[in-house]
């Protein structure tokens, strides 16, 4: 048992750190959830890509560095510690790309991945529908067979980044009426500027359009943009839903960096004798460290060939509650001034509030933990 990086991994860390020290902008770009901020973040992705830092875990042929899991974690730590900008291409890189690596054709990969790596094409996810939140199998949007492709009809919502993104991917019901709702779904990619697509941005709590509704009215999608077999979309989506570099092993780097900023805020602005706040700062710092070490243990198991199991539900509950506690503590540390919406802590707080809801609510995660990890009887869900 050890936590030591190999000399090659340490060299990788040093190279990443040096590049970031040189390139990370001193003044962060405007919020990702504004038109100008979105554009600025594309420019940053291009800068990353130019030196092959935008998708380190991808194969070199698609612009990556073939980084294994440990190096990916190291890169993420360095990236967030350097205070580098948010990743506008995250949905594509962590959700769509793994699916393409596993189920896409060589042609799809060659066509889609390079422009994703550079930020030239930004992808939005289109999973949820108004009546299908955590209960994803109850999707109603349809893909209807047509000559040379499919016509998409329906209504998607909570589509992150879709207010400004270029393309989207999601599941559509191609064989309606089957008895099992998980069957008959098809995984498709489509253009957000295609005829028939209406994008309606939805304001977040703070009014910023962090997601959008998509109204799809006979949107044509050519056969080449179907991933995997038609009707097999659920299996295609699920096989990478737990992708290790995405939500499952959600980067500890982000929480470590936030905990460090919180500790610094505490040292700068905190009243040293206010142990009530000090304990909450300590819990956040300890929690970030626990999450990092848990992730290293998880990564070690994966590197030994173990699969990802239901323990990803432990992750989800832990990081989402940590993130929220961390930001609530920061706002409380700022006192009445914490109400001000200008600051990074306030934006981070609004972002963190969504954590316990998306990617499977924490209630559902707790059901999964109880049933699959503890073996308790399945209740009605």
């Amino acid at each position: 048992m050890d936590l030591d990086l190999s000399p090659a991994d340490e060299a990788f860390r040093a190279e990443a750190r040096a590049w970031l020290d040189e390139h990370v902008p001193a003044v962060p770009p405007p919020s990702l959830e504004t038109a100008e901020g979105f554009a600025a973040h594309r420019v940053w992705e291009a800068e990353l890509a130019a030196d092959r830092w935008s998708v380190v875990s991808w194969p070199a042929e698609y612009g990556g560095r073939d980084a294994d899991l440990v190096r990916w974690l190291v890169f993420e730590e360095e990236y967030h510690a350097a205070g580098a900008p948010g990743r506008v291409g995250q949905n594509g890189v962590s959700l769509l790309a793994p699916t393409l690596f596993e189920h896409g054709t060589a042609e799809q990969r060659a066509r889609v991945l390079p422009s994703m790596a550079t930020g030239e094409v930004v992808w939005a996810q289109a999973w949820s529908e108004p009546e299908a939140g955590s209960d994803l199998a109850s999707l109603r949007s349809r893909a209807v067979r047509t000559d040379g492709g499919w016509l998409l009809r329906g209504h998607k919502t909570w589509s992150s980044r879709a207010a400004f993104a270029d393309r989207a991917f999601g599941l559509f019901r191609s064989e309606p009426g089957l008895e099992k709702p998980h069957r008959g779904l098809t995984y498709l990619m489509f253009d957000l500027r295609a005829p028939g697509v209406t994008v309606r941005p939805i304001g977040r709590l703070d009014g910023r359009p962090a997601f959008a509704e998509l109204f799809l009215d006979d949107v044509f999608v050519p056969d080449e943009d179907v991933i995997g077999e038609p009707g097999q979309g659920w299996r295609v989506a699920m096989s990478t839903a737990g992708n290790e570099r995405g939500l499952t092993l959600r980067s500890p780097g982000r929480f470590l960096a936030a905990a460090d900023r919180l500790a610094a805020l505490w040292r700068d602005r905190g009243d040293p004798s206010d142990t009530a706040l000090r304990e909450r700062v300590a819990d956040a710092v300890i929690g970030a460290r626990a999450y990092q070490l848990f992730t290293y243990a998880h990564a070690s198991r994966l590197l030994e060939g173990e699969g990802i199991g239901s323990e990803s539900s432990l992750n989800k509950v832990f990081w989402s509650e940590l993130d929220l506690a961390l930001h609530e503590t920061a706002l409380d540390l700022l006192g009445a001034g914490g109400e001000s919406a200008d600051g990074a802590w306030c934006e981070g707080y609004v972002f963190a509030l969504a954590g316990p809801v998306y990617a499977g609510t924490n209630e559902i995660q707790r059901d999964i933990i109880a049933e699959r990890l503890l073996g308790l009887p399945k209740g009605r869900r």
């Binding site: 949820s128 939140g133 955590s134 209960d135 919502t157 909570w158 939805i202 304001g203 977040r204 709590l205 703070d206 009014g207 997601f211 602005r269 905190g270 009243d271 004798s273 206010d274 009530a276 706040l277 706002l331 409380d332 540390l333 700022l334 006192g335 009445a336 001034g337 914490g338 109400e339 001000s340 919406a341 200008d342 306030c346 707080y349 609004v350 509030l353 969504a354 316990p356 809801v357 998306y358 609510t361 924490n362 209630e363 707790r366 009605r380 869900r381």
Partner: protein
């Protein structure tokens, strides 16, 4: 001993509830957040006509008060409907002016109070952090009480600033900054302006204003929490997932039960504080009501799922207010410290 609202007080609450419920208050909130004060001012006038602001103004100055219990009744309804504007600050300004008058300085009260009572002049207020009554607050910010801003100074006709022993009528204000609650607009009143009063009475009157501000905030927070709970109960009963109403899940039921417990035990603290107006009682009510409201807000957001998180769905109006009220007019840490300093000892009723 009859620790219950009387019939008249209940009728007052019901009439405010009905009035605000039919006035499209959410639209007024959104307009206010965008800097358009017209619908909010119309609402303000109706509240004034109902006597809300007059409850904080002595009869000598065309008011009905001071009647803190009735004021608390009214502010629960204001919170329930997320009424925008410097409602708490107007009450606190009235308490300050009324207090100064009682201390032998009736001039500012004579000049300003009638228009506060009538609703003609919304007011706002910036108090210094009262070191004598505020133990360490967990922040080095010198203006811990308000973050250095006065709420809605851009909409107020009267901006009062207490600075040491001086009470100033500010002439203008700095740039408006956004709050986490878009309907709260933060600005620092310009320093200087007209000196309305000076002397040790100002600081004493400021403490009185602080107590009234906290009482009104506690009441408003309780109303915010009750609205959040009510909306969430309704939504969870309607929304289905996995084929059953969300409200039939035991985990959901227990979270809502906990929210009700927190709110229903904040309520007697609020009215007990209104009866005594003792600083420790008011501080206890403030922290308890605000924590209950914020806890309910978190539950509401979680149980609504993504829709609760959107600006266009009304839930956000109450959610963001619950968060903002929590730190307004004394953080939870400050209020707990004051409550402990004043409440302990005796185990016997205080009244």
């Amino acid at each position: 001993m009859r620790f219950l609202l009387d019939t008249e007080q209940r009728a007052f609450a019901a009439s405010l509830d009905a009035m605000l419920g039919s006035a499209d208050t959410p639209a007024a909130v959104r307009a206010w957040a965008g800097g358009d004060h017209v619908p909010g001012r119309a609402l303000w006038s109706r509240l004034a006509e109902a006597g809300v602001f007059a409850l904080a103004v002595p009869e000598a100055y065309e008011g009905l008060g001071p009647l803190p219990v009735d004021l608390a009744v009214a502010f629960v309804e204001l919170g329930r409907h997320a009424v925008p504007g410097p409602v708490v600050e107007t009450v606190a300004a009235a308490a300050l002016l009324g207090g100064l008058s009682a201390l032998g300085e009736p001039g500012p009260a004579e000049r300003l109070l009638p228009d506060l009572a009538s609703g003609k002049s919304p007011a706002t207020l910036l108090l210094p952090d009262p070191a004598e009554s505020s133990p360490r607050s967990g922040t080095a910010d010198p203006a811990a009480l308000s973050g250095g801003h006065a709420l809605d100074a851009d909409a107020a006709a009267v901006s009062l600033v207490v600075d040491g022993d001086g009470l100033w009528l500010a002439a203008g204000h700095g740039p408006v900054r956004a709050s986490l609650d878009p309907a709260r607009r933060l600005a620092r009143p310009d320093s200087g302006g007209e000196l309305l009063a000076a002397g040790p009475g100002v600081a004493r009157a400021a403490l009185r204003a602080l107590a009234w501000a906290r009482l009104a905030t506690a009441a408003q927070a309780l109303g915010v929490g009750l609205a959040l709970l009510g909306r969430t109960v309704e939504y969870a009963g309607r929304r289905t997932q996995f084929g059953v109403p969300v409200a039939s899940f035991q985990a959901v039921k227990h979270r809502l039960a906990d929210a009700l417990i927190a709110l229903e035990f904040a309520r007697p603290l609020l009215f007990g504080a209104a009866l005594s107006m003792a600083p420790a009682d008011v501080a206890a009510a403030k922290v308890t009501a605000c924590e209950a409201a914020y806890g309910t807000a978190r539950t509401a957001l979680q149980l609504h799922g993504a829709i609760g998180y959107t600006a266009e769905y009304d839930l956000s109006l109450w959610f963001t207010k619950a968060r903002a009220l929590r730190s307004a007019w004394g953080t939870p840490a400050v209020c707990r410290a004051e409550a402990l300093a004043g409440l302990s000892g005796g185990g016997r009723p205080r009244s």
